[in-house]
Symmetry: C2
Subunit: 462 residues, 2 copies
């Protein structure tokens, strides 16, 4: 079996960038600005319903850096825009990424202002990547973080991704299956993602199959004949009548009846599950489980679990697939060093921590108690989270990501979070994150430098 | 210039489907169920903040149907799952779409329960397509509908798409540029989308360019030298000081100063715009416009416009790019006919209108007043919205979509909506949509048939 690593031809993604990155690149090239820059990717503020985030998307970032090129068609298009010189277009033709990446491993819980990754490279290279790097890490972090909440709410019951049909495009639906798997989701309905990533693919049956058959009983009979251990969808016409049809099928088939579960997809799921359970038990079908789907999110699942409804698995679609309550994060990719000097912005409400950084997670009795954002090179108490994953444009062993290892890592790291942070309810006390003394002092120093340089430049007439 | 029509290789998308579609397909094939089915794509309910939707995504649906195949790698993967017979895998190898599609043109406003498109084909073909068809029409309709609200709020001022970095993946960021353009957005920052679709690409400069320079003045000087008609970003350190630097540059350059605008990206945009306008005017720079960005959505823009802030263009990112307030729609793709008979479901709260349908938009004095959902073939007052776009797997001329025509169409059709429906505020009176008498009677008839067939099947013991 030949499984492609990804469905995207990265060689075509040179132009997947905001136009202003390219106009800035030309300006850097024209001015001979080829000094080393560090850009830091982080989330400024967590939303009320996100006590923590699960970092995700690094593998695609590294694949992008490994193979980033401009095609002839792409360069012809740029030339046609009238803003780019022949010289610059020739420069792009030779473009390769030769820089470094430091990152927290995929599946690591992260908090506000903590670097998820830092790119250090000649400024043009690190600048160009902004759009793709943010696009992928944002998407995958949004989705993994949402899924972790759903998995938490399910308290050990199976969660299956049913979202591809309402996720935002092909790429999101494929990457989601991977991000969800890292966050603890058991399987995906997305067959292509199953092929690409080896994530377990799963599915039951749709209403259309029941509708197209002569009647529901016929549909169940035919499907179970072909897939003895299937899950039968019972709500097309009347949920409890559907359950009766499953019981009738069990009587027909005797020992050959292997149906694994019934699926409820509408109505009051907890109440229907209790009734269905009682009917199945009374018919001696204690092994037939109840699987539920239909507009589920972490709140609905928590409510069902709290009611003690006898549901053993959940199919979760749109809400998890688009991260309905928080489809966007306040994520930024900001220049924090250039030419050996720390850089920052002073824009209202949008600060940047200068220089290359490290994050230390301080634990007590195996439980995370606070994070300290430090300058790179500092040695402080706690576990350092950022690791070198790419040097000189090549992946290091740490950058070769095993999906199953990332899933285990996420599970272990989430288990180490304080209970109120791991919970799906908004934490009254945020998880403590603070800059180190050295970083704070450096921030003040750089702010003074910037103000001074700016004052020097200000024309006296103004 | 060779512009690829799309960045996706549709030939690889056979597996982009929920696994259950394939298990159902095998069951159809095993049972010899090759009758003609119609599936209808529609949105069940509109959300409070969507008075109407803009249908979008048809072009990608038709491209998919034209080129849908299974690759050898895909088939090998399916064979490895253990659920599929060799015979079925051989059948998939030959798979081609040979069916019909009827659809409303892209850019058409649609309402709840109205078919956006209907697929009529041998049941396996129409079933398989569910995941892709919904994924694309959902995404593009979500985004076009959000963008139409933003454009309405801007009241004629320019809106530019700044969203690619926080949209959900590569596909979403590319398709969004097209959907936004249809909905009236002027340009995109997404260079690849510019290449693929010919949508105008636009951009200014980023904070990093200012941060990397010796100081802001130097950054402005260098950028304007290379791009005389550029837009300068003034909020990296202090917005009004940034405006002063632009004025100083104008004095330096004299007649060579051609800078088109300044961009505000943080703080109180309306207030800063008023102050910046006064400073620029006083310096004789009346032609330098003010462009604003930073966490904008239709509400923020409406507020800025209401305050009379002298802003002539808006860069809109995350909120429009992920449709923050409504990232998911209650969209469904449901079997409504098979083997010459109407089909429906009776699941709680999720009704289906049976049979092939047509929608008539009734207008009075050039203003839409109500829609009637009818059976296909009915002739009723009003304009029919659904048109044949594909027959026997081939696009008809109506299915060849010109992007600029779709944009004009959207503009014209939105202008015909009642004012309270076009508005961004939730409409107190929903736009009236009702089934025709014939459709209502047919729905009753099919419901009776289904109940009867189901009662016949129910084992008497239960």
């Amino acid at each position: 079996m030949v499984a492609p690593k990804t469905w995207v031809d990265y060689a075509n993604l040179g132009l997947f960038t905001d136009l202003y990155e390219l106009t800035m690149l030309q300006a850097y090239v024209e001015q001979g600005m080829d000094g080393t820059a560090t850009f830091s990717l982080f989330v400024r503020r967590l939303r009320a319903r996100r006590n923590y985030l699960i970092a995700c998307g690094l593998d695609d970032v590294l694949s992008y850096f490994e193979s980033l090129r401009f095609t002839r068609e792409g360069l012809d298009y740029l030339a046609s825009l009238g803003s780019f010189t022949e010289r610059f277009v020739r420069w792009l033709k030779q473009f390769r990424f030769t820089g470094d990446v430091d990152a927290v491993p995929e599946g690591t819980p992260v908090f506000e202002n903590e670097p998820i990754l830092e790119v250090t490279a000649p400024i043009a290279q690190a600048q160009l990547a902004e759009t793709f790097v943010m696009n992928q890490v944002h998407l995958q972090t949004v989705l993994a973080s949402k899924a972790a909440r759903v998995v938490t709410a399910a308290e050990g019951r199976t969660v299956v991704d049913f979202g591809p049909r309402r996720m935002h495009g092909i790429d999101a639906a494929i990457k989601a299956a991977r991000a969800f798997y890292i966050a603890g989701v058991a399987a995906t309905s997305n067959t292509l993602a199953g092929q690409i990533y080896g994530v377990p693919a799963a599915g039951t049956m749709a209403h259309s199959f029941v509708q197209a058959a002569k009647n529901e009983m016929e549909a169940f009979r035919a499907f179970a004949a072909l897939y003895p251990e299937t899950i039968l969808l019972v709500d097309t016409y009347d949920t409890l009548q559907g359950v009766r049809h499953v019981i009738a099928l069990a009587r027909e088939l005797g020992d050959a009846f292997k149906v694994r579960a019934v699926r409820l997809d509408s109505g009051d799921l907890a109440d229907l599950a209790l009734r269905a359970r009682a009917m199945l038990d009374e018919a001696g079908l204690r092994n037939v489980e109840i699987f539920a789907s239909g507009s589920l999110d972490e709140d609905a699942i928590a409510e069902i679990v709290a009611k003690g409804a006898p549901i053993t698995g959940f199919g979760v679609g749109t809400s998890m697939g688009v991260s309905q309550d928080a489809p966007g994060l306040d994520m930024a990719y900001k220049l924090c060093a250039y030419g050996g000097r720390g850089r920052l912005k002073l824009s209202t409400g949008k600060p940047v921590l200068p220089g290359r950084k490290q994050v230390f997670r301080v634990e007590e009795n195996g439980r995370a108690v606070r994070d300290v954002i430090a300058r790179a090179g500092e040695t402080l108490p706690g576990r350092p989270l950022l690791r070198p994953v790419m040097r000189g444009g090549r992946r290091l062993p740490e950058g070769t990501i095993d999906l199953h290892a990332a899933r285990r890592h996420a599970q272990e790291e989430i288990a180490r979070l304080p209970g109120h942070i791991r919970a799906t309810l908004p934490a009254e006390r945020r998880y403590p994150v603070e800059p180190s003394e050295a970083l704070r002092a450096y921030q003040d120093e750089v702010a003074r430098e910037v103000a001074l340089a700016d004052r020097d430049a200000a024309p006296s007439a103004l």
